[in-house]
Structures are given as structure tokens and as C-alpha cells.
Amino acid sequence: MEDQIARITSRLVVPFIQVYGIYIILHGHLSPGGSFSGGAIFGASLVLVALSFNLEAGSKQIPHNTASILESGGALGYIITGLVAIAMGGYYLSNKAAGFPMGEAGSLFSAGAIFIITIFVGIKVASTIVTLFYYIIEGEK
């Protein structure tokens, strides 16, 4: 799997893919896209590193334990955001009724809980894809 063209091309392209994925996650409440598509793009870029270089280079980008912790942490962050809404006096997973800072509609830091939950779900989807790929590719030894 050591191909010169694939290595140099992916070395050029991967930073742009990662910036694009982060952009889609962060602008989930403003433009089309959101947590699932942005997380999928970011995870696919990490898998591309492992495919064009080798598995060790991919593992150096994001180690297995970190991916597993991020994967569980994304789901936990979602649930905890819902519980914080209860603590602030709203219903479970409520946004404006709980009093999250809404900001001005259309700016980047707005929409309260939607912004936070989008980031958590994006992290979770990206690490899910990376973990799934690594476990399938180096599964039974």
C-alpha cells in the first residue's frame, strides 16, 4: 500500500478535508450540513491517512484509546447537556426554555444548546468511523 502518488496527494489534501469537516460541524446551525456529515468527513480524512500511508501513521494521528474515549465522551456530552438543561430549570434537552445563551441569530456563537450538541455529536461520529475502520482492518490477528 506504499504508493508515492497517493501519499503526496493525501498529504496535500488531508488538511483541507479536515478544515472543511470542522467548518461543517461548527456551522451546523447556519448552513446545510451538521454533526453527522461533518463528523463523517473528518473521520474519512483520518481513515485516508491510514490508507495512503500505513496503519502506524494513522494510529499516530489518533490513538485507539483516545478514539474510544472520544466516542463515549461524545454520547456522554450529549446526555449531560440535556441534564444541564434540567439543572437550569427547563425540560430535558430544552434549549431556549432552559436559558442557554442564544446570541444573535445568524452569528457563529448562537443557538445555545444546538451549537454544543452539534460539536459533541460530530466528535462522536468521527471517532466512531475511525474506531470501526481500525477494528475491521486489524481485527483478528
Partner: protein, 79 residues
Amino acid sequence: MIDILNILLLLFLIVCAVGVAYIRDLLSAVILFSSFGLIMAIIWQQLSAPDVAMVEAALGTGVISLLLIAAISKTRRTE
């Protein structure tokens, strides 16, 4: 004009779907399936659903074919 494009996309979608079922080489079937996902993403965009188009392009074209190729590299290439 845009109707002709939509009809061509739908025809190509059907061709890809039938080809995935008929082809014997599994790697070619995965490539056909990812092209199916790409056509499907363009069709979602034509149906004015850019969110679904983005998810389809990222998951249906990229990640699914990656996982299937990983599974093929663990098993046999032909049926």
C-alpha cells in the same frame, strides 16, 4: 433542460443498482455502489435537500466503500 438531467441521473442510478446485483467481482461492485451513492447525493441535491445530500456523499460514497473494501481485504475478492 433540468428534467433531462434528472432523468439521466435516475437512469444511471438504476443501471448502477442493477450492476451491483449482477457483477461477480466484489471490488468492482463496491466501486459501482459508491458511484450509486454519488448519483444519489446529486439527486438529493436536485430534490432541494442539501443536508441529506451531504450525509449521502460523505457516508454513502466515502465511508461505506472504505468499510466494504476493508472487509474485502479480509476475505475473498470474488463471490
